[in-house]
Symmetry: C3
Subunit: 336 residues, 3 copies
């Protein structure tokens, strides 16, 4: 696909080539995020960041990405879209805001609201999450993380075995990731979830129709075995019909270092969309894993900046100009 001038609304826009293009550009962002050098590519450009629904990490990640390319960010958070309460349509808001900026990132609690906004925008719009619908940059950063972690471990990216664990019924993240990974060849998906929270048929059909192997289990320990990646998500007790049913699963999907040692391969990558819930009643990913070198959750979060930089570069048509707009980093950083 041609990215320049386009909106990024859904992973459905991408074929495998498009995803590989995004990941390749994201990889080129590493010297900037690690502060080996800095980019002046988008100096003078402005991003309008519209978070109708708060999401601090996603908002700052997009802002950081645009800043790292040299641009400036104008933010709006929460209920502060005062004109909407006066009956303004999203089309009008988009017409107005796109007159102020070179790109827009938007998050909203309603499904498809970002696409509705994009229809009125005169500049590229990136979907930062539209309710139950999509959060395409999350699926992209997850994919990027999987491939870069495999590379780090010297493992091939083919015949990838991925276990997705937790609430697979309601998890927007795991749906998008499964669909995105399905674009790549020879996957083995293991869906580990309580019966009441299993992966929707529709998503599993997409995986199977793409030629991948899938298996389903309720059993956490067997699901963890022989995986390249274990992708944890939270199981919320309120999702079950009865407390009795919830009690059956309470504490069953908690990954700790001892459990990792017992069931996982020693090089199994641990991922999580974050935030992880560190309260005792949740604790789906124990703090004792923090020293596990294969706990990739913070590298995953770091990679989000590279993916968002890549998307900004692509939709603004500057992905091939990076080398022309570089400058040295003057300050101390221990990131590189």
């Amino acid at each position: 696909m041609e990215f320049q001038g386009q909106h990024i609304l859904s992973i459905d826009q991408f074929d495998r080539e498009a995803v590989e293009n995004i990941l390749r550009v994201a990889e080129q962002m590493a010297p900037y995020t690690s502060r080996q050098k800095r980019s002046t590519l988008l100096e003078g450009a402005t991003l309008a960041s519209l978070f109708f629904e708060p999401s601090t990490r996603t908002r700052i990640s997009f802002a950081s990405a645009f800043n790292l390319l040299g641009g400036k960010v104008m933010e709006t958070v929460g209920i502060d879209i005062s004109s909407l309460s006066k009956g303004e349509s999203l089309f009008d808001t988009a017409q107005v805001v796109s007159g102020y900026a070179d790109a827009v990132v938007m998050r909203h609690s309603e499904a498809f609201s970002v696409a509705e906004f994009a229809a009125g925008s005169r500049v590229p719009v990136l979907n930062g999450g539209d309710g139950a619908n999509e959060h395409p940059t999350q699926a992209l950063l997850d994919s990027y993380t999987i491939f870069s972690e495999l590379k780090r471990l010297g493992k091939p990216a083919s015949k990838l075995r991925v276990a997705l664990v937790g609430d697979l019924k309601n998890g927007r993240t795991v749906h998008s990731l499964s669909r995105l990974l399905s674009l790549f060849p020879k996957m083995e998906f293991t869906f580990v979830a309580p019966n009441a929270l299993t992966m929707p048929e529709k998503i599993m059909a997409i995986c199977e129709n793409a030629g991948h192997r899938i298996s389903i289990t309720q059993d956490f320990s067997s699901g963890l075995q022989n995986q390249d990646v274990v992708y944890m998500t939270r199981v919320q007790e309120e999702r079950f019909d009865t407390q009795e049913e919830a009690n059956l699963y309470r504490g069953k999907y908690r990954l700790t270092q001892p459990i990792y040692d017992q069931y996982c391969n020693p090089d199994t990558i641990i991922m999580h969309p974050l935030p992880r819930d560190s309260r005792p009643e949740a604790n789906e990913l124990s703090d004792d894993l923090n020293r596990n070198p294969n706990l990739a959750i913070f590298r995953q979060s770091d990679n989000g900046v590279k993916i968002r930089m890549a998307l900004f570069a692509l939709v603004l048509g500057v992905e091939n100009k990076l080398a022309q707009y570089e400058a040295p980093v003057t300050w101390y950083s221990n990131k590189s």
Copy 2:
């Protein structure tokens, strides 16, 4: 008037020459807003944006203007003026904030609060709206839009015929615009409003004393005829004394494409201060006008950025240095 170092609090500060100066500088901002090139003029300068009352579009428009000149913006929105709740005077707040910034834009729900703040400020303050009192940049951008639309249509700027429609009693916007246009020669104002919401005598007197023709009508269709500009505003039902009276006007001041075709000249410019209320019970400016080339409402909003850039340039004394501080735009934009 001399702009450098001055506050912009009210259109009363301006004579015709001053307005023309602002509009002329605003016109020079077009290459930057259309991204043909970018300005580095205010690199290193900071704007403190204090929105005690939220107004997303006005806030982002000012931020965009300062960013497009190369400066950085520090924002404060809503009730987050924590020191004021501890009894700090606006004078003290101004002394402190003006130590942090090179210019301030402020919006507040109380009339004359911005002037009170400006009295304590050591840097220029721009009024972004002070309650029922003034919103001078709106009147300026409206004037700019009228003259630039006339130029687009190849029409002379003299003998201008303007219909102002809607709630003319309570509309800060239409008061300021009438007063500002009164500085120019040979205007014909038509004030179209329900009897209960007619233009205040005081404003009409200003127009007449400046030598302009004014006419008043309740009748929407006759008010639309033979106008260069129709400036629509919303009629809020709660403004009437009784529901019976409100019902008399319900739906009477709604401009649609069929009504435009029936009553307006084919080159009549349609304006609106935005946001327009697209809910069925309001809908004062129908969406079916979106394809009408004379619907100027989004160009009007775009022009707000140029006006605000012009004011920043003028109060910071850099309006003649634009050409010295330019750089190419590196990224794709379809704005130019």
Copy 3:
């Protein structure tokens, strides 16, 4: 101490040499804050500003400082730390946010929360106030102000006589300032407070153990006499056990110009941490002092920017590169 890569959490980190180092670097920031020239030193760097508790002046002061060094700021204010409400630990938040930025400033209502955050951060964290615990940049800017005011008056910095007035029991500011000044030689502290709100023994012991003279009084007028500096703070009536006790002190600690004329030396410097409460029932520092040349409260606030610039420069290891990264100021300013 070595500053590069360090967190700034508490004044306990500093010995006298460290404080003098900070003050010396802060002094070098004056040409930038007075807009004689501008710095491009941190162009490309980003600051994550996390104000879990709102504090507009502190937040803008830090932002201004980072902007004046050329960097960009990403802000989060108030309850908008959405992931924390989902059970995320401060450690995780720090890991994530430090991946987005080159430095972090954080304010939080809970004591020691900033240190907890810093333990998870991969970039330097500056404490912008952590509840009842510390606000180290306030103590530093107060110290800077004292020494620069003495220099302005041509007075020696030794044998400094400082009166601290008001609620000395609960005032985080006066505790930190007393401790910081105790690092310097030959101080004379006068603690002026109602009996119920006197300086804690612990702080007085620190002053005395460092070899300084201290005296305690309830009497405002005698406390004001023969001082180099009078540092006023607010007495809140709700701090007393009974209204009868509060009434005893109502209005007793209000500095006005007539009282200054009557009791203070003519060159006594007046300071206040701000905001001063200008409501009639508080009014601890009367507006009639605004024309007193020794009212240093707004210079004090201005100095906060220099101190924060100095700390950013020090923790990012660029304090010796200032002269290499300078550019002219293009716009009008009456600050210099």
